[in-house]
């Protein structure tokens, strides 16, 4: 299928093309959904804020400047809407919890059950690894999740700092910590997996 650039789709949307607006929505809805969910951790609220984000984006396409990417623009709208929500509904100033304390008070993630470890296939190992990473991500503080989500989506430290409202140095440190922590988890899991295979092989 022909890949249409964001720029092309935006021009079509401005000219009133519903189909191309739908393509832009399909392209970024999952990312924006994840970004909002890491902040609010509520499915219904996330769905509402997701809709509001895209409505604002499509209605305000005339204000979009192509120096920034459309994805980044959407992320800024989503983050601002989350802040507005906090100000309006919770009636307390939106503020990230201390980066070092984590978020004990917030709603908990629905951590998926660990799958059975009997399947030896590579695909299964990958699923197991993803499940493990998901569980560790779920245990992290909201803002750590958001930083790692944006980092994994290719955002630079400066952009993440602008979106999350932290100094760039703090973002760099948090990325390094998160990455090193997950690297350890991955290495441990691989070691565990290799040991399991060896045991399995020796039994045969």
């Amino acid at each position: 299928m022909l890949h249409l650039s964001d720029e092309h789709l935006i021009r079509s949307c401005m000219a009133g093309c519903k189909q191309h607006c739908s393509l832009l929505y399909e392209r970024y809805q999952r990312f924006v959904y994840s970004l909002i969910y890491t902040k609010v951790r509520d499915q219904d609220l996330t769905a509402d804020l997701l809709q509001e984000t895209f409505l604002r984006a499509f209605k305000g396409l005339g204000a979009f400047r192509s120096e920034s990417s459309f994805k980044n623009w959407l992320a800024k709208i989503a983050v601002n809407l989350c802040k507005d929500y906090w100000r309006r509904e919770v009636r307390q100033p939106f503020k990230f919890e201390s980066l070092d304390q984590g978020d004990e008070s917030g709603p908990k993630w629905d951590i998926p059950d660990e799958p059975e470890k009997s399947d030896p296939s590579v695909q299964y190992e990958r699923k197991e690894m993803v499940s493990l990473i998901a569980r560790e991500l779920g245990r992290m503080a909201k803002e750590d999740q958001q930083i790692l989500l944006l980092w994994s989506e290719g955002y630079g430290q400066k952009e993440i700092a602008e979106l999350c409202g932290f100094p760039q140095g703090t973002i760099g440190r948090k990325i390094a910590e998160g990455r090193n922590f997950l690297r350890e988890i991955i290495n441990q899991q691989r070691l565990f997996s290799r040991q399991g295979k060896r045991k399995h092989g020796s039994k045969k």
Partner: protein
């Protein structure tokens, strides 16, 4: 493993995250051709990013994208305003390119006309009086019949006054 690797890991991390400028990135790329340790770090970075993305997909409940779009589409007016139509037309390179060429050609034409205007002859019928106001006859004062505005002509020779009609 390359035990003698002198490259700071922060530089490799910055490279993997796309934080280096083109010149610095080139230096790191040359290093990566020789250092398997650093190459492995870059590969690990990519893998960790991929696993984080998949991890979030696994962790975050899926949204009903189709229903979400239908709600959004119902609230959007897809008829573009006049200003949006104009903007979208001029945002196309195919329109900008000929427009720019026409504008540039017009500018060049006007420049040529203006720069050669001193060579245009002054018609005698348009000149009411001519006086020489310098002993070297290099400064001429002309007065046009129509506007009665004095024109001062400075040149090495005589002005190119031609008979009308």
């Amino acid at each position: 493993m390359n035990a003698n690797c002198q490259m700071p890991q922060s530089r490799i991390d910055a490279y993997a995250d796309g934080e280096l400028d083109a010149r610095e990135a080139q230096v790191v790329e040359r290093h990566l051709e020789q250092c398997t340790t650093c190459l492995q770090i870059v590969t690990e970075h990519r893998e960790i990013k991929e696993l984080i993305r998949e991890g979030f997909d696994h962790l975050i409940p899926s949204s009903n994208a189709k229903a979400g779009w239908e709600t959004i589409a119902a609230q959007l007016d897809f008829r573009p305003s006049l200003w949006q139509k104009i903007r979208s037309v001029f945002a196309r390179p195919l329109v900008w390119l000929p427009s720019s060429l026409v504008a540039a050609s017009a500018a060049v034409f006007i420049f040529i006309v203006l720069s050669s205007s001193d060579k245009l002859p002054i018609l005698v019928s348009q000149v009411e009086s001519v006086s020489v106001s310098s002993p070297t006859e290099q400064v001429w004062v002309l007065q046009t019949a129509k506007s009665r505005q004095p024109l001062i002509w400075i040149q090495s020779g005589t002005p190119n006054v031609t008979e009308a009609g």
